[in-house]
């Protein structure tokens, strides 16, 4: 059984800075990490490998340095990493990203299960998983919060949809996109980290996947949506009163807030 887990290298959201004047993201201001949701996706893959003896491949699209992210994934249990990296892939929106990743999945070949995180913390769209499922022509099960059972033929999952939990059974090939509730990702051991550092990451350019996607479908050319403008909003202006050792002041402000907001 072959599993592909999709991963993305993202800036560390706790430290990344935004330039309000220029409306740009200062990517140099923060380190990079594996998109946190993808760690849950990877953990699902690795647990299936433990249970069913599957091979787990991690696939990413990004600049050459994203190879580090794939090595990180290998230290957490993936067998091999593939990086789609080419200037031609740059500026891709959800559609072009999906088409490129689909070509990568086809290049890996005979994939039974694709697993994605619910969303990335930078692009924040949560759309790529669903689009990939459609372009691959396989069922996509979104918002998976629990894996109930898995065999070589099918997988049974709980999905968090319609304000409720629904149990779904699906045959391979299929795609799952998982929430953070699905598991607690393992931490790599020191030994695993050493092993992963030596792992070879396979890099593919457009040429390498061109039998599965046209040059019109990738990068900026293949992106129907265009970002016209970026705004860095000011945080809501708040009154910001602070009360310290001032119970009477705090009570007065609180009572006033109750009245202003018509709580009673």
């Amino acid at each position: 059984m072959k599993i592909v887990v999709l991963v993305k290298q993202v800036p560390d959201m706790d430290t990344v800075k935004f330039d309000r004047e220029k409306g740009v993201i200062d990517r140099a201001s923060a380190g990079v990490e594996v998109n946190p949701f993808d760690l849950n996706a990877l953990e699902v893959g690795v647990q299936l490998k433990d249970k069913l003896g599957a091979e787990v491949y991690v696939l990413s699209m990004g600049p050459p340095r994203a190879a580090e992210t794939l090595k990180d994934a290998i230290s957490r249990g993936a067998d091999a990493g593939y990086l789609l990296t080419d200037r031609l892939f740059g500026g891709a929106d959800c559609k072009a990203t999906s088409k490129t990743l689909v070509a990568g999945i086809k290049k890996i070949g005979n994939v039974d299960l694709v697993i994605a995180g619910l969303q990335t913390v930078d692009g924040d769209t949560g759309q790529v998983g669903g689009e990939i499922a459609q372009y691959l022509g396989v069922p996509g099960i979104c918002s998976v919060s629990e894996i109930k059972d898995a065999t070589e033929e099918k997988i049974t999952v709980v999905t968090d949809l319609w304000d409720g939990l629904y149990v779904k059974e699906v045959q391979y090939p299929c795609l799952l996109s998982v929430t953070k509730d699905v598991n607690i990702p393992r931490l790599p051991s020191f030994k695993d980290k050493i092993r992963a550092r030596k792992a070879e990451i396979t890099s593919w350019t457009y040429e390498d996947i061109s039998e599965f996607v046209t040059s019109e479908e990738i990068g900026i050319k293949g992106s129907p949506t265009i970002v016209k403008k970026i705004e860095v909003p000011h945080l809501h202006k708040r009154e910001g009163q602070q009360f310290r050792d001032d119970k009477a002041g705090a009570v007065f402000a609180f009572t006033e807030a109750l009245a202003n907001q018509k709580v009673f």
Binding site: I25, C94, Q242
Partner: protein, 332 residues
Amino acid sequence: MIKDYSGVMVYAEQKNGKVHPVTYELLNKGGELAKTLGVPLMVVVPGPKGMNLKDLIYHGADKVYHVSSDELFNMPEECVFAENINKLIQEVKPEICLFGATTFGRSLAPRIAAAQGCGMTADCTDLQIDSDGLLIQIRPAFSENIFAHIKSRTQPQMSTVRYKEFDPSIRDESRSGEIIEIEGVALKNPQVKVLEKLITDDFDITGYKVIVSGGKGLKNPDDMRLIEELANELGGAVGASRAIVDEGYATKPHQVGYSGNRVKPDLYIAAGISGAPQHLAGMKDAGIIVAINSDPSAPIFNIADIGIVGDLYEVIPYLIQSAKEAKIKKLG
């Protein structure tokens, strides 16, 4: 110029024949867009037969396409919904398609966008018509730190729109419109079986006007009672940070934050929550924010209207007391 694609189409999410409230918000915004463009406002609702669809017309729809079946649309199985909606979009060719960014909408919309081969903008918080008649889709990205203005070069222009971003449209029983009945079609080779719905409490924190949330400042799970007492006194709901949900103090439906629920109550009280960006992303748009924390440099104070530096075990009891007094004064 004759446009190939015309009209604004709203997807109405239903469960057991009941329409999700985000639909009425989409009818409000979609109605504005349709008016600006001078085109009809349409609704597609895949659902059981015999639904009350007049309400959609009273809320602004000019045409309601009811794709009906008593069997196909009882469970959230995206593939069958996508197939039926795709067929209709191909026939009707709307220039704009709007979906609520519910968990189901966010799962359904990309499948339809990919099937149509069009662009897709997720989680919009505002929509406008540009001078060239195309849609400007405004959405947060980078965990809500920036807002991007996005336009699409393909038709239909598709967006998912966040719940509670717009007011619902006003209901007007004098409005008239057309209801078009279409028979739903099953998939030829269904690969997904929805086996059952698990029993869960139907608690929905996003519906409350007051929310009192606890965080890591609470020392043990029993202390949630303190949070509950204040919430009850204010007629509000109990919320929780991710940290204490992970530790079992509260269940997932109570979680506020980036990976939990986004809430927009009139009053939000954060007790013992330091204010990590992930939590702020879920509550920063609240009307008034009251923060209680023993650390005066906690980031939660940066976005609070009223910051109370102190031990929540001392502060909450006196807030409960003042809430009681305020209630007596108001209600007698």
